[in-house]
Subunit: 337 residues, 2 copies
């Protein structure tokens, strides 16, 4: 069982692994390159993952067998465990609770070599739809207050397997980073009566210089306050706080713009490691007028060091206008949107 | 000139380089190993750094010449520039100001190969004393509200030069991370009338299992809420909010315990990359009853990925009790404290 413990100073929670802890000998500064050994996510190796939670098998067939286009399985080394209750408790200064949560892996394609940018439009739509299916299902479990969907690609971005996959974590707490966003957006709404993200969308569309690409329902741009070089945000043009409530049409347009951003980044930056994170409202069946879900994409080009840890500031060597121009102007082929 | 710009949602400031920006071709995912080329910090190469701000030359001699034991120079590629004023301004949604600040490098020894852990006790005391001298001097500049002292060692920790050095940044704003700490500690003080760090010190001394080493004036321990494996905090036993006001005796004891921690970490973890950060109160000539300065040390053994960016949570695979035990039990020679 892992434990959640709360920093009494900043209120931040950490997850500490008490079950299979890693000792002094368990760290390698330069990890093994990805791709060695047997891939547990490839077809024919379904028995190497925990039993699947969800799959798309157009031709039918038994669970954990062949013929799938998309497969969702519990993470074999979960940060949090699905069983049990929170058992919140104090220990002197500190607050603790059991590390209860869900940690799932979305295997995006049976093809080991097919990166998200290479997926056909319908395949990428299926992945995004899988995100919403799992989010909505986990919402039924009242222990969970927040669902985070994210993707790590490449060693430098924290990936440990090469086969294209995303991750989903359902948490018993709305995490600090999300609370800060909700609070900041809430203050803005209280003050101005408008969604700060809607205002940002209008300012970016007007300024144009940080825009990369847009389609009917989405805008992709390098945000004015980019913490990282070539950071990209994808924002739905209509106000929605809840990613999981996206319609089929929304997900179709999101697949188009996401694929195009991934292709443009790959060509501009020589296939960099990256993370993306879907920032959505808490797990609740209501729209929030002050919050606007969006996807934040960060290629991992710089290293976070003492200054960033000490201040919470980020130093970005690339103005977003320069990044957006490069991403806008690169010639791509293969975007089918 | 770099620019400071503020995220209207979370209130976080970023520094964006508008002067010498890095474009698409300027990033290497795997940077060059350290140590190539001519070291600008080695004796005889003083002309390769900007003119020195402070130095210790026991035998005398001209500035920027030979014979120094410690040398402080402006960073050649500063994140912030010392000239000019803030010129705070708005741009639609966003807040901007000029990137005014000081960014200095403390060259810890003339010896390129002498890591901080290898410095003799008096040499390390001189480095720590240099930190306080520069902090106090920069306090004279009323534009600066906060001074951050930190050290990056190794590529994975964001270092770009091998020669042992630390960095100091004076900022026109108290950064978010520090404000959170001050606020959290302030709430605790309001509620309990005690310093949260003093309480933590007593709890850790009582529990014992997370303690690594102590001396007359300092305690080194793996904090209960460790965000990273083998994270170490060094806390002065007496309540002081301001590192720069440390006495000679304080700095002597700090040098002893810091050297011992560095040696123990090196032996336990095969000389890992690391960062340390001195967390001190804002630049002001008063003691704060709610805040307690301390040093946070983090070996860089894990990679921060989508989950951490999305939540602000950290997943730590090593319980602090296990880390402290390993660090406590490793046999060191060479600590002269």
């Amino acid at each position: 069982m892992s434990e959640l413990c709360r920093d009494p100073i900043t209120g931040r929670w950490n997850i500490i692994d008490t079950d299979e802890p890693t000792g002094p000998g368990g760290f390698q500064v330069e990890p093994e390159p990805l791709g060695g050994g047997t891939c547990p996510f490839c077809p024919g190796h379904e028995h190497l993952t925990p039993p699947e939670i969800y799959a798309v098998r157009p031709g039918g067939g038994p669970a954990n067998g062949a013929g799938w286009q998309l497969r969702v399985v519990p993470n074999k080394f979960p940060a949090l465990r699905i069983e049990g209750d929170l058992s919140r408790r104090g220990l002197g200064l500190f607050d603790l609770s059991n590390g209860v949560g869900a940690h799932e892996v979305i295997i995006e394609s049976p093809d080991h070599r097919k990166h998200m940018a290479d997926l056909a439009h319908e395949d990428l739509s299926r992945v995004l739809s899988g995100f919403t299916v799992r989010s909505l299902d986990l919402r039924g479990d009242r222990r969970f207050k927040y669902t985070l969907i994210f993707k790590n690609v490449g060693l430098q971005a924290g990936a440990s397997l090469e086969h294209p996959h995303s991750q989903l974590i359902a948490l018993p707490i709305v995490p600090k980073r999300v609370r800060e966003e909700l609070m900041g957006a809430g203050h803005y709404f209280d003050f101005r009566g408008r969604c700060v993200f809607c205002d940002m969308l209008h300012q970016e569309l007007g300024d144009e210089e940080r825009v990369i690409v847009e389609n009917k329902r989405f805008l992709a741009f390098c945000p004015f306050v980019s913490s990282f070089p070539f950071e990209v945000w994808i924002l739905p043009k209509a106000h929605h706080s809840d990613f999981a409530a996206s319609s089929k049409e929304d997900l179709n347009d999101l697949a188009r713009i996401l694929k195009e951003v991934l292709l443009r980044v790959r060509l501009t930056l020589a296939d960099p490691p990256y993370n993306f994170i879907i920032h959505s409202g808490p797990s609740e069946p209501r729209e929030r007028e002050e919050y606007h879900w969006h996807l934040e994409f960060m290629p991992r080009l710089t290293r976070v060091a003492g200054f960033e840890w000490g201040t919470g500031f980020y130093i970005n060597p690339t103005p977003p206008e320069l990044a957006a121009k490069a991403l806008r102007e690169v010639t791509i082929s293969g975007a089918d949107g």
